[in-house]
Amino acid sequence: MSLLGYPFAIIFSVFSFFQIGFNLEDFKRNLANRRIVTDPLFNPKWEWAIENASQALLETIQIAILASILGCFIALPLSFYASRATNQTTITYYIYKSFLNFIRTIPDLFWAMLFTVAVGIGPFAGVLALIMFSMAIMGKLLSETIDSIDLGPLEAAKASGAKHNQAVFSSALPQILPNFTAYFLYIFELCIRASVILGLVGAGGVGRIIETQRIFLRFDRITPIIVLILIAVIAIEQFSVWLRRKIL
């Protein structure tokens, strides 16, 4: 099968590139436009950026915090139902597993668009979208982790007459807690990045500002904002990496 794979991949790639219509002439012409982007870089408007973007950046972070916490903790019980190890009832297992798979197929921005239409523009839509986003990722990662836990303690709990939920809580949950924590921090990082973008469709946060400025080609304002975002994202990431190392 691998013999077939490679030529297919290559042909498909070439085909894709043609579809995209890479055109050398256009590219050269457009390259001349680069000054629109690069000129303002030398004249960044920091005060403006700091004044306007700080509030939005805070919003972005709050959206990420709320959504990742809610999404991950909702996904926790769901994951147990979506794993063969802790859910022997075939019907519910397939229902929960399919639900998690389904949620994974929709990109976060699509969720955001749908929620803005349903509950209105603003950060709430963003939170809802990222909750789905977090649930999807945590659900997949966690249910796979649960699939490979040690079933012995679970058997011991059942043998002592404990109810199913009690057995899972006392003997399965503690086994995956370190993983849950690591995944949570990872998802939190992802949410911060995603939250930046959500503003683009009106779901709150920094993206909104970037979008308005982009329309007016105010790259002198966008650039400092992007730099601020960069710093914030890297700082949060470093913090989260440090936290992960400390805990585990």
Partner: protein, 256 residues
């Protein structure tokens, strides 16, 4: 009293683990089951609390039919049966105390157990059980930080915390050294004698069986081939059970 009535167990895949085994175990008995790996010892033990469902036959424990019990009845029956395992089956990341408390789960509401709101009496019982196996001082140590022998003692404490009428031990010392093995067997014997708990132990070390056993049951290829007092057993009987001459791997060995 435990009654096995014509128990047969066939696993999916066709393996016949038990073949028409009938047996009676009196209350307070200390029984040791020996046999080769695959002879059906584990399977037999697990039909007592229905962790394995017999394909044919029934098991009656203290007048209650385990095999035909409903889910609710089964939980009640199981709460009176304590079990310890070859691999200890402790929750590694939890403390010793938490592990022992899982023995009380059947007596406490789900909500309470989730939030760790154990009633005082249950905690007392847990501490007492730990004390009985002389490991009370390790109550807040993580399970994985203990040695094999200590972990098995925690396993015994967990089973004791259930205040069981029956104690099942599935190869409890198979992964322990000679000294620790004897310590564990000593505790099991002690519990049986002091508290009158019917105890059934799977072993494959013959010398241990002779040292601690009272009644011996031999299984071979899923069938009952010996049932009698340990003192009456000859080396020939052992060879019948194992179907071959005794090897050194069948003996635990001396204390160093």
């Amino acid at each position: 009293m435990i009654e096995f009535k014509n128990i047969s167990v066939t696993y999916p895949g066709g393996v016949k683990a038990l073949n028409n085994v009938s047996l009676e175990i009196t209350e307070g008995d200390f029984v040791i089951i020996v046999g080769m790996s695959g002879a059906g010892k584990s399977t037999l033990l697990r039909t007592i609390n229905n962790l394995v469902k017999p394909t044919e036959g029934e098991v009656i424990v203290n007048s209650k039919n385990v095999t035909k019990a409903s889910k609710k009845e089964l939980k009640a029956i199981r709460s009176d049966i304590g079990m310890i395992f070859q691999t200890f089956n402790l929750v590694n990341r939890s403390s010793v105390l938490k592990n022992v408390l899982t023995g009380r789960l059947s007596q406490v509401s789900t909500l309470r157990s989730i939030f760790g709101l154990w009633p005082k009496e249950d905690k007392e019982i847990a501490f007492e059980s730990l004390n009985k196996v002389e490991i009370l001082e390790k109550a807040y140590v993580r399970g994985s930080n203990l040695s094999g022998g200590q972990q098995q003692r925690v396993g015994i404490a967990r089973a004791l915390a259930q205040k069981p009428k029956v104690m099942l031990a599935d190869e409890p010392v198979a992964s322990l050294d000679p000294i620790t093995s004897r310590v564990v067997m000593k505790y099991l014997k002690q519990i049986n004698q002091e508290l009158g708990i019917t105890t059934i132990v799977n072993l494959h070390f013959l010398d241990l069986a002779k040292e601690f056993g009272e009644r011996l049951i031999g299984l071979k290829d899923g069938q009952l081939v010996y049932d009698g007092k340990v003192n009456d057993v000859s080396d020939q009987d052992f060879e019948n059970i194992y179907g071959r001459a005794i090897k050194s791997s069948d003996l635990l060995g001396e204390e160093d």
